[in-house]
């Protein structure tokens, strides 16, 4: 199995969720993160003191999928999350050695 991890713009979550649903992928875990990259941050000035805000709000989406599905998931995310502007984010793929469903104890693909 694979773990597909996508860093996306917060406003694209709903589109990504729907795109995955149409692939029959109905599970994922989302984390609020801050991203740093090419996309410029901004600066805030409080009573004359300037603070550079380098990190911008992003969402990290993690989806465990069977190997076979991973390419389609990547494409689906890419299409749903793309705005074409800098800062759209990345998709990472990791090898996932083992999965267990806590409730039932099932493992492997059955646990997804």
């Amino acid at each position: 199995m694979k773990l597909v991890v996508a860093i996306i713009k917060p406003s694209r979550l709903e589109e990504v969720r729907q795109a995955l649903n149409s692939l029959d992928v109905h599970g994922m875990t989302v984390t609020e993160v801050k991203g740093y990259g090419r996309q410029k941050g901004h600066s805030e000035i409080y009573r004359g003191t300037e603070y550079a805000v380098h990190f911008l709000p992003k969402l990290k989406i993690e989806i465990a999928v069977e190997d076979a599905l991973s390419d389609r998931v990547i494409t689906a995310i890419r299409e749903a999350a793309q705005t074409g502007r800098i800062g759209d984010g990345k998709i990472f793929v990791f090898d996932l050695e083992h999965v267990t469903r806590i409730r039932t104890g099932e493992t492997g693909a059955a646990a997804l």
């Binding site: 409080y46 004359g48 003191t49």
Partner: protein, 452 residues
């Protein structure tokens, strides 16, 4: 000439430190012997009678002014610190409220606002006779407020005594030890606030000189602002100052705080008429106009300079306006208040945003930049814009006399604040340890934290 005269006055007031230190232990002792030939401060009213309308407004004013400190000032400051210090910041306002209440009840009111011989009030300090409010009862009236019960007058003045030290906290935010703060503030109330309140309002020498201070430009704001500056200098900068992000963590809290300060300030300024009359109305109108003018002046200045109008800017400007109009509110007309507001907004913006950087001290929440500078602007401009049609007591206004009041206050508070800081440092130390400062005062001083 003004310098010579001022120097003399300053010398005299420093001399009173000794008097005060000496007199304190002997609580029942009369201190007025030190004040020979003082001008009678407030004419004793012929037949004082309680007026229920005046009393109603003053009872209300007490509530309003207390609300300025808790929750007002507490929130105003708390929104500007980092999240790890938010509880410690509100704690300061709350604890000061409690400590000052007891000190005022025990001896503060007596020192500041009573005199052994009201016809011949103490030049430098008042009486020690009303220890624990001894001798004050439901029939008492203080000649300074002849139409309301003395309990109400004393309560009203207490709320001023509460907010003044609380204002100082802005200067040493995020780094002072809680125990040190308690000790410092207690001494400061007795040795700085109470005497100065007496000098200006309680029959002392500054009121006698003709210094105009309707609601506390010198007594409250210059006093607190300068004390704050001394604290900032003595304590030093916060760890990481200039490199670490110290942006205000939640300006919604500061918005609530500034709003309640504004609303409560009606009690402060209009309440300082100590009556429910047209002078109170004029003070209210002046307060409103100056505050709005200063808020917009700061906002537009910032908009021009850094291209964005900010919440912190407009609320800071409002507070600067409130501060500056405080001494003037019962002396000037609304057009005067308008001008005072604009000047205060622009100058305090400059002070907080640029002056501080130039000198490099860490007056963290601009206690000096807003209250010190704003107070000085207001005190001086009261000497310019006082209008006898609003208040006949302002007929002989003079910017020179005002300047004397300002200088005396600055010198006294600077020197004595420094002394008290040294004493406190010896007793318990002033700053939290570096590790504590980094972990945050909420956890390290109070063992608490805000979840979310």
């Amino acid at each position: 000439m003004i310098i010579a005269r001022t120097t003399k006055v300053v010398g005299a007031s420093l001399a009173s430190l000794t008097t005060l230190l000496y007199a304190l232990p002997a609580l029942a002792q009369s201190a007025t012997s030190a004040a020979t030939a003082a001008a009678p401060a407030a004419a004793a009213p012929a037949a004082p009678a309680i007026n229920s309308g005046d009393t109603a407004w003053m009872l209300t004013s007490v509530a309003l002014v207390l609300m300025m400190t808790i929750p007002g000032l507490g929130l105003f400051y708390a929104g500007m610190v980092r999240k790890k210090n938010v509880l410690a910041t509100v704690m300061q306002s709350f604890a000061i409220t409690c400590v000052v209440t007891l000190l005022w009840f025990i001896i503060g009111y007596s020192i500041a606002f009573t005199n052994d011989d009201p016809a011949n009030p103490g030049k430098f300090i008042g009486s020690f006779a009303h220890f624990l409010l001894n001798g004050i009862n439901v029939n008492s009236i203080n000649g300074l407020a002849p139409t309301i019960p003395e309990y109400v007058f004393s309560m009203f003045q207490m709320t001023f005594a509460i907010i003044t030290p609380a204002l100082i906290c802005g200067a040493f935010a995020e780094r002072m030890k809680f125990s040190a703060m308690i000790i410092f503030m207690s001494l400061w109330l007795l040795f700085v606030y109470a005497p100065i309140a007496h000098w200006v309002w309680g029959g002392g020498f500054l009121g006698g000189l003709g210094v105009l201070d309707f609601a506390g430009g010198t007594v409250v704001h210059i006093n607190a602002g300068v004390a704050g500056l001394v604290c900032a200098l003595v304590l030093g900068r916060r760890k990481g100052f200039g490199t670490v992000n110290m942006a205000p963590h939640n300006l919604v809290l500061s918005f609530i705080g500034a709003s309640l300060l504004w609303v409560g300030w009606f009690g402060f300024n209009a309440g300082s008429a100590v009556a429910s009359n047209a002078l109170a109305g004029a003070a209210m109108m002046n307060t409103q106009v100056a505050t709005a003018a200063a808020a917009l002046a700061w906002m537009f200045a910032e908009w021009l300079v850094v291209k964005k109008p900010s919440v912190l800017g407009i609320i800071s400007g409002a507070v600067a306006g409130l501060v500056a109009v405080t001494p003037a509110s019962g002396f000037v007309n609304p057009t005067g208040a308008f001008i005072i507001g604009i000047v205060a907004g622009v100058v305090c913006y400059y002070a907080a945003a640029h002056l501080k950087k130039m000198f490099g001290y860490d007056d963290s929440l601009d206690a000096f930049g807003v209250h010190g500078i704003g107070g000085i602007i207001g005190a001086l401009l009261t000497g310019v814009f006082a209008d006898a049609a609003i208040n006949p007591l302002g007929a002989n206004h003079s910017i020179i006399t005002q300047l004397e009041g300002v200088v005396v206050t600055i010198v006294w508070t600077a020197v004595v604040t420094w002394v008290i800081l040294m004493v406190t440092k010896m007793l318990v130390g002033l700053r939290a340890s570096e590790a504590e400062e980094e972990e945050g005062l909420d956890i390290t001083q109070h063992g608490e934290s805000v979840a979310e």
